[in-house]
């Protein structure tokens, strides 16, 4: 019985990856957290200004896959010495360092009430990503608070994100694939503001391009 995979999908590694697209990799492959910030399309100015205040509390609030952690990582570029702590669902939790003037905390809603209280009453500036807001508790602790709800995705923003991801994967000067506007609108219509699931489809689009197929048939 003949195997089911097509010949196209079992191509020998005869050329550099994605060289036929003038790219070095699939722009929508998995990106380590440490690199996500550099790829984000964000206006960081207002947040950086807010964080100049003593004991500032900045939280990014939203569902999974909307870009909360990406915002944290983007800001980390401006505080390179500040610790970053991620609190996974299936533990164990990292130790939160004492004495740092700035702390990046990802998924703070998983922390115990007591640990959160201790943090909010401390002196460090806190930048948090969370599913549930801690703004009230932060205000009670006397902190200036800025709560940013991460939701919604406009075609212009998605287009800019795609362009940045493609540029980051560029191999050399010259043309690179451009995702048409119709595809961008279709992705938003299908996935809403869930960037993570949207990336999955774009990954498949670029794999199709690599194999010489056209995933956007209405475009020339």
């Amino acid at each position: 019985m003949a195997p089911n995979a097509t010949d196209d999908e079992r191509r020998p590694a005869a050329q550099l990856a994605f060289s036929n697209l003038n790219l070095r990799r699939n722009p929508f492959g998995e990106v380590p957290d440490s690199e996500r910030g550099a790829l984000a399309v964000l206006e960081l100015g207002p947040w950086r200004e807010f964080l100049e205040q003593e004991r500032a509390y900045l939280e990014f609030l939203g569902e999974s896959g909307r870009g909360k952690s990406t915002r944290l990582h983007a800001l980390r570029g401006h505080f390179p010495e500040a610790p970053y702590c991620y609190f996974p669902e299936d533990g164990p939790f990292p130790t939160i360092p004492d004495g740092s003037p700035v702390l990046f905390l990802d998924e703070t809603w998983r922390l115990s009430w007591w640990t959160r209280r201790r943090l909010l009453r401390g002196g460090a500036r806190l930048i948090c990503a969370t599913h549930h807001s801690h703004a009230k508790a932060a205000r009670r602790a006397g902190r200036p608070v800025l709560s940013v709800t991460v939701q919604g995705l406009k075609p212009e923003l998605l287009s800019a994100i795609i362009e940045r991801r493609v540029e980051a994967a560029r191999r050399r000067p010259g043309s690179v694939p451009v995702v048409p506007e119709s595809r961008i609108r279709a992705l938003i219509a299908q996935h809403g503001d869930s960037l993570r699931t949207l990336e999955y489809d774009l990954y498949d689009d670029f794999e199709a391009l690599r194999r010489g197929q056209n995933p956007w048939p209405r475009q020339t």
């Binding site: 019985m1 995979a5 999908e9 020998p12 990799r25 380590p32």
Partner: protein, 534 residues
């Protein structure tokens, strides 16, 4: 603008490198503004990329220079590093890619660190028997000693070192229970869980309103039942099937294009109905992206071959039931690759579908390695170079318990007509190489009027399966045997009124028949002939 611009130039440009080759090049620095460089750091290694979390292995690192840089300065720094003999080779799949890189970063305090990166290909020569790197992980300590060595120098102990390098402690209870091994501590734990669950459930029924209390009390038991089912389903299945012998030849290692003979055999202690027996060859790219709650597994099938050995049938008690299939690896099957969150995994799966009863399932892992490596490992271990179809009865036939025949029945010792054997051999080759139903039909059509005069040495007899039977042979018996001059075995179907005569035959007996070609047994790769009488 960055304080400096970096670039990497490799000798010989985009040429693919070989494992064991030294890669040479230069790093070029163009300084845009005065700065201090704490270190111009170069790393050399391989990396996965694609849908899964990136895994990097840096095999060489050095600091090329450090110091104060002046605006307008231009510098070049040569470097060289060796690709290990074991690779891994570059791979470009769907979810998973493996590539090699040279990367350089300038550590400039209080500024964005400029960097540059250059990828390159590594390709194995087709005739290389160097053991490739197939994975790293917690269980790879024995494997590491094999990488990069000629397989011809490895002893049979190399085969025993081939284990999943990602084998680790089970991540959860279901995974722990699904693994073979002592389970007493697990069942003790489960027992404690049951007692606690019943205690909580009793309280829930007492204090919580109906039906919430009932649901709370029953939920832990339902969970326990599910876990027990997952753990014990093969045990339940064996009550109907008996012990199941599941073998793959050649076992453990295979090369692209290899034919694997997969065999399943059991003797049911009681009459058992079967929906189907399936034997599968599966190759997948499996990668994991994200972490924590966002951890997602993505699977891309490289190959899926399924041999459905038979449709529904009832197997009598005490009779050996065998299922056999020849599954061929694709000629360009990629080698096994097992690193964290990024794997190319090959396996053989067996599934016995028992109606209204837990099914029997088993999986055997397969290490796919380059052809010269497999050949050298097999030669070193003395195992068979390639698989041959077993001559024992295959799928769908049940073999009655062997009886002592008084004498093998031997008819006139006239050899088969040589021209008929040649013709049948040619037809067998055409049938074996046909990939489309029409091709085989043409062979049968061409030989519809042909009667082959054959002398067959009997190897086994059994009931003709419903799927294989024609109008003439329904209810009859099938003889498996060899014809001198023919490479494969043949199956000869006879009508029901020959059953007594077939039963009187013993293994090793020789019969002479005039038979017509009526079918092709794709499971066993052998022609099916039919004769009107013995």
């Amino acid at each position: 603008m960055a304080k400096a611009d970096l670039s990497i130039r490799l000798e010989d440009g985009d040429r693919a490198r070989l494992p064991g080759e030294v890669v040479r090049g230069t790093v070029e620095v163009a300084v845009n503004s005065d700065c201090t460089c704490n270190g111009l750091n170069l790393t050399f290694g391989w990396r996965t990329h694609g849908r899964g979390n990136k895994v990097t292995e840096d095999l060489h690192a050095e600091t090329l220079t450090s110091g104060t840089w002046q605006t307008g300065e231009r510098m070049t720094f040569p470097f060289e590093a060796m690709v290990p003999p074991g690779g891994p080779a570059s791979y470009h799949g769907h979810h998973l890619n493996v590539d090699w890189y040279v990367r350089v970063t300038a550590d400039i305090p209080w500024a964005l660190d400029p960097s540059a990166e250059q990828d390159f290909l590594v390709e194995r020569p087709a005739d290389s028997d160097i053991m490739p790197m197939i994975g790293n992980g917690p269980g790879s300590s024995e494997l590491l000693a094999l990488y990069g060595r000629p397989a011809s120098e490895l002893s049979s102990a190399a085969l025993s070192a081939l284990k999943d390098p990602l084998e680790r402690a089970p991540q959860d209870l279901v995974e722990a229970l699904s693994r073979p091994g002592p389970r007493l501590p697990i069942f003790i734990g489960l027992g404690i869980f049951v007692v606690a669950a019943m205690f909580i459930g009793g309280i829930a029924i007492t204090v919580a309103p109906f039906p919430i209390g009932c649901l709370v009390s029953l939920a832990p038991l339902a969970m326990l039942g599910f876990v027990a089912f997952m753990v014990l389903r093969n045990t339940f299945a064996k009550r109907k099937l008996g012990e199941v012998d599941f073998t793959v030849q050649p076992e453990q290692i295979a090369a692209p294009g290899d034919s694997l003979v997969v065999r399943l055999a059991f003797t049911p202690p009681q009459e058992v109905k079967l929906n189907a027996v399936e034997l599968r060859l599966r190759g997948v790219e499996r990668v994991v992206s994200g972490s924590g709650t966002n951890r997602t597994t993505h699977t891309h099938e490289l190959c899926r071959m399924v041999e459905r050995c038979h449709a529904a049938q009832t197997c009598p008690p005490g009779e050996l039931v065998e299922a056999e299939a020849v599954l061929q690896l694709p000629a360009d099957a990629p080698s096994t690759f097992l690193v964290r969150d990024n794997t190319i995994d090959w396996s053989i799966e067996a599934h016995v579908d028992i109606p209204l009863w837990p099914d029997w399932n088993a999986t055997k892992k397969l290490f796919v390695l380059p052809t010269p490596v497999v050949a050298a490992l097999r030669a070193g271990s003395g195992s068979a170079a390639s698989a041959k179809v077993s001559s024992t009865p295959g799928s769908l036939t049940t073999t009655e318990p062997s009886r002592a025949a008084s004498e093998p029945v031997t008819t006139v010792a006239e050899p088969s007509s040589s021209s008929d054997v040649t013709l049948l051999g040619a037809a067998t080759e055409r049938l074996a190489s046909a990939h489309y139903g029409n091709d085989r039909e043409k062979v049968f059509s061409d030989l519809r009027e042909t009667r082959f005069a054959l002398e067959i040495r009997v190897e086994s007899t059994g009931a003709t399966s419903g799927l294989d039977a024609t109008e003439t042979s329904r209810g009859g018996k099938t003889i498996r045997g060899h014809v001198e001059g023919l490479e494969t075995a043949i199956a000869l179907q006879l009508p029901a009124d020959c059953n007594d005569a077939v039963d009187a035959l013993g293994n090793g007996g020789v019969i002479q028949v005039s038979a017509q070609l009526v079918g092709w047994h794709s499971v066993h790769g052998l022609p099916i002939l039919e004769a009107a009488s013995l």
